[in-house]
């Protein structure tokens, strides 16, 4: 671990909508520079947890972010509809008008080589002037990460970054998040459905099914018992496997 400083401390967090308990009595903490994966079945409260962490839904309990952190959140299903008329450039410019910053964010996510005139032209034509809705799933996720990087965040909350991406592309997105985590000490909290990926990339995993089932390094805490508890039945143990 690069440093042991705790930047997020969650104690006894509960979220309810109309008497419906979505998350109950959840406690965990995150240290600077960690990659935390959140796993759990559908309806387990994973996205709601992110919304609570970013102050979007009312909650009980304590959520303490270290003061002065820049936290960026990429919501789930940020799918831009195919016919929504906005180009990649316009989208990125909603956050920063500075061409240099945009170019360096694009190279950080691997959409642009470090420096080459040809490449600059290529990026302008084939990426920046394209409609967001025309991008492939993998390209869109990279653009979203570039958007998130534009104002130099300390923490990135990413809800299902690989939804709608094929397995090869999925691995690349996680490689990218890991690379950013290494290079700029970005703390990453990511909701994932793929346990293989979680094993490979996360320092800690939070298993959530309305309440905390497990929390700790994946190798230690993601045992058979935890998975059965998490996904409800023995059959659920295999729920994360891909068959396509």
């Amino acid at each position: 671990m690069k440093t042991k400083e705790i930047i997020l401390d969650v104690q006894n967090l509960s979220v309810s909508f109309d008497d419906n308990k979505i998350i109950g009595d959840l406690s965990f903490s995150v240290k600077k520079g960690e990659v935390i994966a959140i796993v759990g079945p559908n309806g387990a409260g994973k996205s709601v947890l992110f919304r609570a962490l970013t102050g979007l839904v009312p909650h009980l309990g304590k959520i303490d972010w270290r003061p002065g952190l820049k936290i960026n959140y990429i919501p789930q299903k940020f799918g831009v509809e195919k016919d929504f008329p906005i180009t990649v450039k316009e989208f990125l410019q909603l956050k920063s008008k500075d061409h240099g910053s945009i170019m360096s964010a694009l190279s950080a996510v691997g959409l642009k080589a470090k420096s080459s005139d040809y490449d600059e032209h290529h990026v302008e034509h084939h990426l920046l002037n394209q409609r967001m809705g025309w991008l492939s799933g993998g390209q869109l996720q990279r653009v979203l990460i570039a958007w998130a990087l534009l104002d130099n965040p300390d923490v990135l909350l990413f809800d299902e970054p690989t939804a709608g991406i094929d397995i090869g592309g999925e691995e690349t997105i996680y490689n990218l998040l890991k690379k950013l985590n290494d290079e700029i000490s970005l703390t990453v909290l990511v909701i994932s459905h793929d346990l293989n990926i979680v094993y490979k990339y996360a320092n800690n995993v939070l298993c959530l099914n309305k309440e905390k089932i497990c929390f700790g390094p994946p190798k230690d805490v993601l045992d058979r018992q935890a998975l059965i508890e998490l996904y409800g039945s023995e059959a659920g143990f295999y729920a994360h496997k891909h068959h396509n």
């Binding site: 929504f84 008329p85 906005i86 989208f91």
Partner: protein
């Protein structure tokens, strides 16, 4: 000012404003709201006619109350407002139909731009300037919250406030446009130019530009058609915008 020029100026300003606002209405999937919203103005106009004050103010007051209702509902439930629109707006139309004095009914329903006055031009020009200025000011927040409300909120963009300002601007343009195309047709002047622009635009800047342009062109086409073919200008404007939509649809189909 010559009557035709007066009509043209007012109609063009309203067409451009309606197109600009409509571009966001369409992206926010509020086409139906835009169309039905204009019906709410009817009881307001009726009361203005009965109590003898400028119908613009009656219409704007009624529309303002309606958008406050939509806004509060959206905030509370996050549900699309279609059901409310379906019930509340048609009920207002029915009430307005009964309240409106018979001689004025046709004019209120379909507009009559030939009755426009210098005062209307003043009100229109001032409102148009305000709409363009305010919309330009909130455009960034409006665009981000249209893409994703959560994303906007996590960036500390005041989503609810922006949404309310936007809806008030929509009620303002609809109230202005009632003289031009009436309570039944004004909504389409907000929606059709934007829908046409969406057919042919890759970027949001071009989309907004074309929506405003098509709004203005529809007004010009409709006013001249009204003048030379001796038909009411309101329906003619809507027909021209419909024609522009068909042309853009053909261009889009060719591209695909």
């Amino acid at each position: 000012m010559n009557d035709l020029y007066l009509q043209l100026t007012v109609a063009i300003l309203i067409g451009i404003g309606a197109g600009y606002l409509g571009s966001f209405m369409v992206l926010r999937r509020m086409s139906l709201v835009g169309d039905a919203l204009s019906h709410v103005a009817l009881p307001g106009i009726a009361l203005a006619l009965i109590w003898n004050f400028n119908p613009f103010f009656g219409a704007f007051a009624a529309l303002f109350l309606a958008v406050l209702g939509i806004w509060a509902l959206e905030r509370k439930t996050e549900l699309p407002s279609e059901t409310l629109v379906g019930i509340f707006f048609t009920v207002s139309l029915a009430a307005g139909l009964l309240l409106t004095p018979e001689p004025e009914l046709l004019e209120v329903l379909f507009g009559d731009i030939s009755k426009i006055s210098g005062i209307d031009l003043l009100i229109t020009a001032a409102s148009f300037t305000a709409i363009i200025a305010i919309l330009t000011f909130i455009k960034r927040g409006l665009t981000i919250s249209t893409l994703s409300k959560d994303l906007a909120r996590s960036m500390n963009i005041p989503v609810d406030k922006i949404n309310l300002i936007f809806l008030v601007m929509v009620s303002l343009i609809v109230a202005l446009g009632l003289k031009v195309s009436g309570t039944l047709l004004m909504g389409s002047l907000v929606i059709i130019p934007a829908a046409a622009a969406k057919n042919i635009s890759v970027s949001i800047s071009k989309y907004i530009f074309f929506a405003a342009l098509f709004g203005g062109l529809s007004s010009i086409g409709g006013i001249f058609a009204g003048e030379f073919l001796s038909i009411p200008a309101g329906p003619a404007i809507v027909l021209v915008s419909g024609l522009i939509f068909l042309v853009t649809l053909a261009i889009r189909t060719q591209k695909v």
